[in-house]
């Protein structure tokens, strides 16, 4: 197990170095001068310009800049945002809980609906339920989620007034200092009446939008895994024993069908981050996705560079975790 762990860890190191190199090169190819962004367009004296360039390390040779960059990264320093002068890591850490909260809610939505939907479709294979659910699954899988979000805002929020249009909580009614960064938990900790409910209300639409594609993928995956398992001998045995059908499907079969499904859920993390960029932009959700888009608009390259590094690191980390867990459960992977 230890050897598997080490080998898998060693595999991620070159990926990290390459990631570092690519973001470094990419940001330096961006048109536009970062100093200009900082000082505005009115222009400054040549001396001051030189000073700024020195401060940002732009007067150094490129290889030196890369070495410095790598050195800083190794010490957990992702640079400072040009626009706000704050540490990129600090900004990211402040915004990331909002993205996690949204992702967890979206994933909950996807799993809680997707697994039952896939199970029903498999149990009633070929029926009208199966066909409807799989038709919906293709639609969900093909959904342009930025449009789906606008559609939900248009109907659910604007026309029917069931949910708020954007944001994480009603800032006029409720105010409290962030403790954990997770709005639902902070609202609960604040003890203000109705705050938790309001935070959850704000969470519903973004979670549905972000969870739609994972929902479609999970439903489909559950269905095919179930169909495979339902043909196994132990399922027939369970049926032959006279167990009720819901017990055979819901307990015996589902438990085994879930193994590939859990892996898929873990591997959805990259897709979730990509979806978060769009979802957060539509709902003005103050997470890292929206921040990344704003950084581009502000030409805040250190923020963009650090943001891409950090988001990718999270994805690499989670995928590694999924792999390790899977290797732990299934020895065939470990020794493969």
């Amino acid at each position: 197990m230890l050897r598997f762990l080490l080998r898998r860890l060693a595999l991620t190191i070159p990926t990290f170095i390459a990631l570092m190199f690519v973001t470094f090169v990419a940001i330096r190819m961006v048109p536009g001068d970062p100093v200009e962004v900082r000082v505005g367009e009115r222009g400054i004296s040549a001396e001051r310009l030189e000073m700024f360039r020195h401060e940002l390390g732009l007067d150094q040779p490129v290889w030196k800049q890369f070495a410095d960059y790598a050195w800083q990264l190794a010490h957990g320093d992702f640079g400072s945002s040009i626009a706000t002068n704050q540490k990129v890591l600090t900004e990211f850490a402040a915004l990331f809980p909002a993205t996690i909260e949204l992702s967890v809610a979206g994933m909950l939505f996807a799993v809680l609906l997707g697994i039952p939907a896939g199970t029903i479709a498999a149990a009633r294979r070929g029926s009208i339920y199966d066909q409807t659910l799989m038709g919906l699954s293709v639609t969900g899988y093909s959904m342009p989620i930025f449009w789906w979000g606008l559609l939900l805002i248009m109907f659910v929020a604007e026309r029917w007034g069931l949910t708020p249009v954007s944001g994480r909580i009603d800032l006029i009614k409720y105010y409290f200092e962030p403790v954990t960064g997770f709005m639902v938990i902070d609202a609960w900790l604040s003890g203000q009446a109705g705050a938790v409910k309001d935070a959850l209300h704000h969470l519903v639409l973004p979670a549905i939008v972000l969870g739609t594609i994972p929902l479609a993928v999970i439903a489909r995956m559950t269905r095919s895994a179930m169909l495979e398992v339902l043909g196994e001998d132990y399922v027939r045995t369970a049926r032959a024993k006279g167990l009720p059908i819901w017990r055979v499907i819901g307990v015996h079969a589902l438990r085994n069908a879930l193994i590939p499904v859990v892996t898929i859920i873990g591997l959805q993390v990259g897709a979730l981050m990509a979806g978060a960029v769009l979802t957060e932009t539509i709902f003005s959700w103050p997470g890292v996705g929206k921040w990344l888009i704003e950084s581009i608009a502000r030409r805040d390259y250190p923020a963009l560079q650090g943001g891409v590094m950090l988001i990718s690191s999270v994805v690499i980390g989670v995928n590694l975790l999924v792999d390790l867990t899977y290797g732990f459960i299934n020895p065939r992977i470990r020794h493969g």
Binding site: A18, L19, S142, A271, V277, L278, T281
Partner: protein
């Protein structure tokens, strides 16, 4: 006696069926796939003859008719069937021209990543270990960055435009092709017919492109078909974020971004481009699924 003969040769499968015919017979079993293919072909035709069927030019402005409602709602008229946008441009014409742009993006991304994917994949298996490791690592890296985040990074570097959208989306989807070609080429290389070809003195180029490659094609074709829909979605997302095709280009995602400010007053401006994207992507995916099932029943989408 007659019974025995009937059993030996099943009447349903005749021996001289052409591969294409066999494929079509398998494909048409799936009604959803046939419907999808039909709609895809329809959209392709619309895209090709866009100039002929669109009532107006995509960027033609009617100052007297800004944000006119579609003809079936109050205030709509037959002059603009689907209404007009914030600058008085005919929605129907823009949507029709948008089909051309989206399909062009999809086809371009598919074509370029197919070719580069095949070349890199075959390079992995034939040019030795170093090339293999470098390419595989690079592909792993691309896969580690969330698709849209990577596309955003590429566009941030190159600047937003239609061409750069294609470049960005191609980079994002390239690993799928490379990995697919590499994996199936490795499998094929260990088979007897490849050894036989080698023994017969077939050179390395010919071995790769005429002996091995054709046997790796069916999963690639399926990937290419489904890749078109992913590329269209990704490009539309970039357009929506203002990082794709730039206004006034009639790209569906860009149109949605333009329409966002009218979400309260003129909901159809938001609804129509999204419907166009959804219909296109759903039909390509349906047809692609059918293609997968018909080409290789074992490969059914998980």
């Amino acid at each position: 006696m007659a019974d025995v003969v009937a059993q030996v040769s099943p009447p349903t499968v005749s021996q001289d069926v052409s591969p294409l015919r066999a494929f079509w017979d398998a494909f048409k079993e799936n009604r959803g796939a046939v419907a999808g293919l039909f709609v895809v072909l329809l959209i392709v035709v619309i895209a090709i003859v866009a100039d002929l069927i669109a009532p107006y030019g995509p960027n033609e402005q009617f100052r007297d008719a800004v944000r006119v409602a579609p003809m079936w709602t109050d205030g709509g008229s037959g002059r603009f069937i689907l209404g007009t946008d914030g600058l008085g441009r005919d929605m129907l014409s823009r949507l029709i021209h948008g089909a051309r742009i989206s399909l062009f993006i999809g086809a371009a991304v598919m074509g370029v990543s197919f070719i580069i994917g095949v070349l890199l994949g075959l390079a992995c298996v034939s040019l030795g270990n170093t090339v293999d490791v470098v390419v595989t690592r690079l592909m792993d890296l691309i896969m580690a960055v969330p698709s849209l985040v990577l596309a955003i990074l590429v566009v941030a570097v190159l600047g937003p435009s239609l061409t750069n959208t294609i470049v960005a989306v191609t980079i994002v989807y390239l690993p799928r092709y490379v990995r697919l070609v590499r994996a199936s080429a490795f499998t094929e290389l260990s088979k007897d017919y490849v050894t036989a070809a080698r023994v017969a003195g077939v050179g390395p180029w010919r071995l790769m492109f005429t002996t091995v490659l054709p046997n790796c094609l069916s999963p690639l074709i399926v990937q290419a078909a489904l890749g078109v829909s992913d590329a269209i979605l990704e490009a539309a997302a970039l357009g929506f974020l203002g990082l794709g095709a730039q206004p006034p280009t009639a790209e569906w995602g860009t149109m949605l971004a333009d329409a966002r400010e009218f979400i309260r007053s003129n909901p159809w401006l938001v609804t129509l481009p999204g419907v166009a994207i959804l219909i296109t992507v759903v039909s390509i995916n349906l047809a692609g699924d059918g293609l997968r099932d018909a080409l290789d029943p074992k490969m059914r989408r998980s």
